[in-house]
Symmetry: C2
Subunit: 353 residues, 2 copies
Amino acid sequence: MSKYWSPAIRQLTPYVPGEQPKVDNLIKLNTNENPYPPSPRVVEAINNYPKDRLRLYCDPDATALKQSLANHFQLHYNNVFVGNGSDEVLALAFMAFFRQEKPLLLPETTYSFYDVYCKLYDIEYRQIPLTDDFEINFTDYDQPNGGIIFANPNAPTGRQTALHEIETLLLKNRESLVIVDEAYIDFGGSSAVELIHNYDNVLVIQTFSKSRSLAGLRIGFALGHEDLIAGLERVKNSFNSYPLDSLAIVGAVAALEDVDYFNETNQKIIDCRDWTTAQLEQLGFRVIPSKTNFVFTCHQSISGAELMQYLRSNNLLVRHFSKPGIENFLRITIGTAAEMQTLIETLKQHPQI
Amino acid sequence: MSKYWSPAIRQLTPYVPGEQPKVDNLIKLNTNENPYPPSPRVVEAINNYPKDRLRLYCDPDATALKQSLANHFQLHYNNVFVGNGSDEVLALAFMAFFRQEKPLLLPETTYSFYDVYCKLYDIEYRQIPLTDDFEINFTDYDQPNGGIIFANPNAPTGRQTALHEIETLLLKNRESLVIVDEAYIDFGGSSAVELIHNYDNVLVIQTFSKSRSLAGLRIGFALGHEDLIAGLERVKNSFNSYPLDSLAIVGAVAALEDVDYFNETNQKIIDCRDWTTAQLEQLGFRVIPSKTNFVFTCHQSISGAELMQYLRSNNLLVRHFSKPGIENFLRITIGTAAEMQTLIETLKQHPQI
């Protein structure tokens, strides 16, 4: 604490990301990274980029990437916004849209950065509990609001909300913006991108960190009506002109081009997730149905904290949240088939399993 | 404009960066980029980085880079903050420190992003005119304030403020934070970094974009008392956990290691700046004494707008600000010796020169 701090920042409780261990011998299933490397085309694009050009500023509009995304999603250039990871895109969106007179509505259990942004920007918010089955029930969102945000599929539960329910939510909230955070959409979920054509009150946010294996390159994007994108650009251009560096731009463009690799690696993860789910259930675990690259699971008789420690002592790193209501669950990232086999074998050796 | 925009963002006037032309045949002297490529060690570090690892999140603390900067400046790790370009570092610093009851003081003519940040974060501010010689006169800053920021050397004037004047300012303002934006310090200026040891109310911000030829990689940093750095980390970790991607981190570390290259290229720019200044003066230009990689100059009889157009029609791109008081000046980046010779020859061919 320092007398030079702005009064508002004294109240902040920053987000804590999953551990990035400094040792190499761990099977890392704690931050939902993709077990497969990025497409060879990404590597080629970065290696071939003339590094002399790094002396020049990057394109502040990341034109090439926005155009690639527009083509990919069959949208217009003006429907696309890009940022330094989807966390930055989310933060700028909170500032652009959610500083309203009425409270923002969001699930009580969801990506835990959302309420951090609310505190950062002094946004009033109301957290709505999930059902006992960890589902989002939009009936509970029938109340005055200055915006709604949720992740679909949700994190850390992995559960998907059906598209027709999202459409009903949009119809019921024509005066509010609804943000659908689709960080995990490419592992079998149904994207709300198609709703953009008919609704100007939906903003879809996605990332290259999970399904495109580029967590280390920091690329996120938002898709929506051009007036929403214009709002994001206003905030971005009042904050940082050049959020995406030149290597991230060429890498992201190359990742989008390699459709086959994208489909193939994601299918492997989906198959492995379903195998892991079946195995865990056989071992007495409850597994929430997942449409993501992780499973959210708890054992009938061993606590989440204990299981996390047990796995850690066997060089398997998984994520545990001490938050009440989910404190007995683990969020386990889907790695390679071999990694998940190791996980299952290790669990089988637990004296109570 | 959209009904979904937060009320506050309707008032924003975003910063407009210098043009990044899409054509290649221009001599680009408009955004203060370094004419020399980054150090070969940077290229090597990026090329050698195992791209498979881009599937993993980067180190959210950029530990390696912070430690390198600490060693370079003979400071502790806790005195160093890094961000996605110095623009992001500045923006986070405005939020962390300048949202106070009393107004922020800044020069009327300086980096034009500062008042954009003030509007973004609803910070009251007061702009203090420069002297007729474009100097910052700190006597004019003897008034109640919630912080002070200026660039040293200043932009777009290029003029340096002496270190002893900055120290006096710090002494007179023990209750306020003073930010010294040293984007251009490596071209012959005297850095305020040494004052960090004795003053907890000074934060120095620098960038890799100019003197390290890495504008396209987006790396900025702040140096100051550990309580100031802790404040920045709080805001950063409430905004974006991973602002620097893995390639930027290794590139920046490699740039710091190549001291010889850094000294050599910067000396070439300094020599060329002094040559350019002498040439311009011979042609009837007024040139403000510069300690940067640009010159701020006006001709005795030709307007700034006209000169910019004339140069542009001869494939030379320079920066012109239409702001009253400096509207007859051009800001011309120092390029290679050959580029500056072309500039001078082109100017000589102007009918009024």
